[in-house]
């Protein structure tokens, strides 16, 4: 039987710049390629957005050859991030110069990327267009209009998630246009589906929820040097992830449970502001900010922690919550997340219920049995989630669209 030929417009290799999106696309491509004939087109390196068009070379990548090399992570992580356009990072740039000017620069870079994709794709034969997140959507729209082939969009994160308190941007409009023209939309949670329906006004009939798979990390046997219990936050330091909420929660937890310490792992546009806020906090001496961490370091951190906290304003999926669950951490997480649908043992609350978060964390800190019960429940869930299962469901959509 002839395999469906799928053209995947990817977000780039997993890196600090595309975080959960990059990891998910990487694993999906790996598993989907076993079911279909997959061609991946993606920026070779994300910093190429910052170079001139003439200097760039985009190559169609078959995942079996180049997409399997996870080592590339360590190289990409070194790049200057402030000058790069990337799926999650365009917001940081808009704050540096005037809104209108920066927005147009980002848009020009995105348009250039679109042109490159269109040129390269001309040489490829395919039956289905499969595009991941906004950066690839303009190219997906143009290819759909040109070829009339089925278009499947995979939504890992929305402009609405990334800009929870901002007006609708041109990225929002691009997403909305792509959703209208798409034949199918895959999203990573019912939470995300509800936003696409209610905020973007898209018919729920063409939206499928397919949860990501889970790859067990090589969690380290790393002892915490602290005598206090460690409460952990992992994520990009952007408003979307609620790091300022975490700081507030930490102050309340420490007030009621002084034998506690807090670690905020991640980097982002709020890094400096949060360090300053942390320094002004009364728990400054027990509040650590690590900056960006390698996978290996993150594994150590999961091993050091006692409780995971994710007060995200909007989290379509929440890969880090699953990783924390895999490490056996009990957790208190935001209702506005895919992870709260999946993880039966996660305690979930409104992201801005600071006292609620603090109280639940304190309860967990005081009750080892409860911690064990919830963490065991979550571990069972995550270990049953596979990328193969997600890939099989996606393949079904390719074949029926």
């Amino acid at each position: 039987m002839t395999k469906t030929r799928v053209l995947m417009l990817g977000p780039g290799e997993p890196s600090i710049l595309n975080s959960g999106l990059g990891k998910a696309a990487f694993h999906l491509a790996d598993s989907i390629s076993k079911n279909v004939e997959l061609t991946v087109v993606q920026p070779e390196k994300l910093e190429e957005f910052n170079e001139s068009v003439q200097q760039r070379e985009f190559e169609p990548q078959h995942r079996t050859e180049e997409f399997t090399d996870y080592q590339v992570l360590s190289d990409i992580a070194k790049f200057e991030i402030t000058n790069i356009i990337a799926p999650y990072w365009y917001l940081g740039g808009t704050e540096k110069v005037t809104h209108e000017y920066t927005e147009s620069v980002v848009r020009i870079k995105a348009e250039t990327y679109t042109k490159e994709i269109i040129e390269i794709v001309d040489e490829i034969e395919y039956d289905v267009i499969y595009a991941h997140d906004w950066l690839t959507f303009q190219a997906a729209i143009e290819l759909k209009e040109k070829t009339k082939l089925p278009l499947v969009l995979h939504v890992h994160s929305l402009d609405h998630d990334r800009n929870p308190n901002m007006d609708r941007s041109w990225v929002f409009e691009l997403e909305q246009k792509a959703f209208c023209i798409a034949d199918k939309i895959i999203c990573v949670s019912n939470y995300s589906k509800s936003i696409i329906r209610s905020v973007y006004g898209i018919d729920g009939g063409k939206i499928n929820v397919i949860y990501n798979g889970f790859t067990n990390r090589q969690y380290k046997d790393h002892q915490s040097p602290f005598k206090e219990k460690v409460i952990l936050f992992v994520g990009r330091l952007t408003n979307q992830k609620g790091p300022t909420e975490f700081l507030k929660i930490a102050e309340h937890v420490h007030k009621h449970y002084p034998n506690s310490r807090f670690i905020m792992a991640g980097d982002g546009e709020l890094y400096q502001s949060l360090i300053e806020a942390g320094a002004h906090s009364r728990i400054a001496h027990k509040f650590h900010m690590t900056g960006h961490l390698s996978d290996d370091e993150l594994n150590k951190l999961y091993a050091m922690a006692d409780i995971y906290c994710m007060p995200s304003v909007s989290e379509p999926f929440g890969l880090s919550a699953l990783e924390a669950a895999g490490a056996g951490l009990p957790m208190v997480i935001s209702n506005n997340s895919g992870a709260s649908e999946i993880l039966e043992g996660a305690i979930s609350l409104d992201y801005n219920d600071t006292l609620g978060f603090a109280n639940e964390i304190v309860k967990l800190l005081k009750n080892e049995k409860m911690k064990h019960y919830y963490s065991t429940k979550n571990q069972k869930v995550v270990h049953s989630m596979t990328w193969k299962e997600a890939a099989d469901q996606i393949t079904n959509i390719f074949e029926t669209v």
Partner: protein, 336 residues
């Protein structure tokens, strides 16, 4: 003819190790000695050495009394960079051509935070001077010339006869021409009031001038010899021992600490920002909780210069430095 007293300050800021959260509880050193020594050597041979050579030349060959403060860091690094220089300084000191000033071991702010820690650091500095130069200091230079009444008692009890202090113009009033004062109830201890600048003609009534030069100021004035050349045209240079003859017996009664800083620094230069106050508070809380800490690694963290840039928002590394310092302090806290 005016009288001038010249003192030099040689200190060096160490490079701290990159200390991640995963290094807390490990055996990693707080100071990156390799990098510190390498930076020091570069600067020493291109600049500092000339100042020391000029200092020795002026004090020995031209019989010009100079007093000098070497921080513990500076001595430690100099011992490795130029053993011969250490030897020559020792000869000059032993021949009474050069006076060494006592101080805190690493030019710290401990006098503002902890009397016990301050005492420990002064003793540590005296111990280094004894060991390296076989010298017992009697004049005291406190970091940035910090002074207040209670310090006078303490410094005297540690075996010193005089210390420097910044001039408070409004307080001195009509006594501006006087430069040597006494603290209340301690007749045998002198407070030497520093000049704010080096223009010896500002006040024609002022006959004595206490001048302090650190490396930055020496650089600005093109070295020790040039400073002395300019000073000699207007004043006779004397040793600090002779300063007692200028004792006015007037009180310099300062309850709140003052800073007679070189280069315009104020207290808020060190503790005006949350990142600075946090790290300083944490450092001195550790020493307070644990009692006096004489561990050399812990004392290394006391260097005032380490806290100077922590709050500067125009320094893009200030935030990383703060996180780094907090990790180090957490490690120190665990080990205290």
């Amino acid at each position: 003819m005016k009288t001038a007293f010249l003192s030099l300050i040689f200190d060096y800021t160490p490079v701290l190790s990159t200390f991640s959260i995963f290094d807390i509880g490990s055996d990693k050193h707080y100071v990156d000695w390799e990098q510190t020594q390498s930076s020091f050597n570069r600067e020493y041979f291109s600049e500092f050495k000339r100042y020391l050579e000029e200092m020795l030349h002026e004090s020995q060959d031209k019989d010009t009394p100079i007093s000098v403060y070497f921080s513990g860091f500076f001595i430690k690094l100099l011992e490795k960079a130029d053993e011969k220089m250490i030897h020559e300084i020792k000869i000059a000191v032993n021949n009474r051509k050069l006076e060494l000033l006592g101080g805190t071991i690493n030019n710290s702010l401990s006098s503002l935070y902890s009397q016990d820690q301050f005492t420990e650091e002064v003793k540590a500095h005296k111990s280094v001077l004894k060991k390296v130069f076989d010298y017992k200091p009697v004049s005291f230079y406190n970091t940035e010339s910090i002074y207040c009444n209670t310090l006078a008692d303490l410094i005297k009890s540690l075996g010193f006869k005089r210390t420097f202090a910044g001039a408070i113009s409004w307080y001195m009033g009509s006594n501006k021409k006087d430069r040597v004062f006494i603290p209340k109830n301690i007749q045998s201890f002198n407070i030497l009031i520093l000049d704010k600048d080096n223009s010896l003609f500002d006040n024609p009534d002022q006959k004595a001038h206490f001048l302090l030069f650190d490396i930055k100021r020496l650089r600005e004035h093109k070295g020790v010899s040039r400073v002395l050349l300019a000073t000699r045209t207007k004043a006779k240079i004397k040793s600090l021992t002779d300063s007692g003859k200028l004792n006015s017996k007037k009180l310099y009664y300062i309850k709140t600490p003052t800073m007679g800083s070189l280069n315009g620094k104020t207290f808020s230069s060190f503790n005006g920002q949350a990142m600075q106050t946090n790290t300083l508070d944490m450092y001195y809380n550790i020493s307070e909780q644990a009692g006096v800490i004489s561990d050399s690694q812990f004392l290394d963290l006391g260097a005032a210069s380490l806290y100077l840039n922590l709050g500067k928002k125009d320094d893009s590394t200030a935030f990383d430095k703060y996180s780094n310092m907090m990790n180090i302090l957490n490690d120190a806290d665990l080990k205290a």
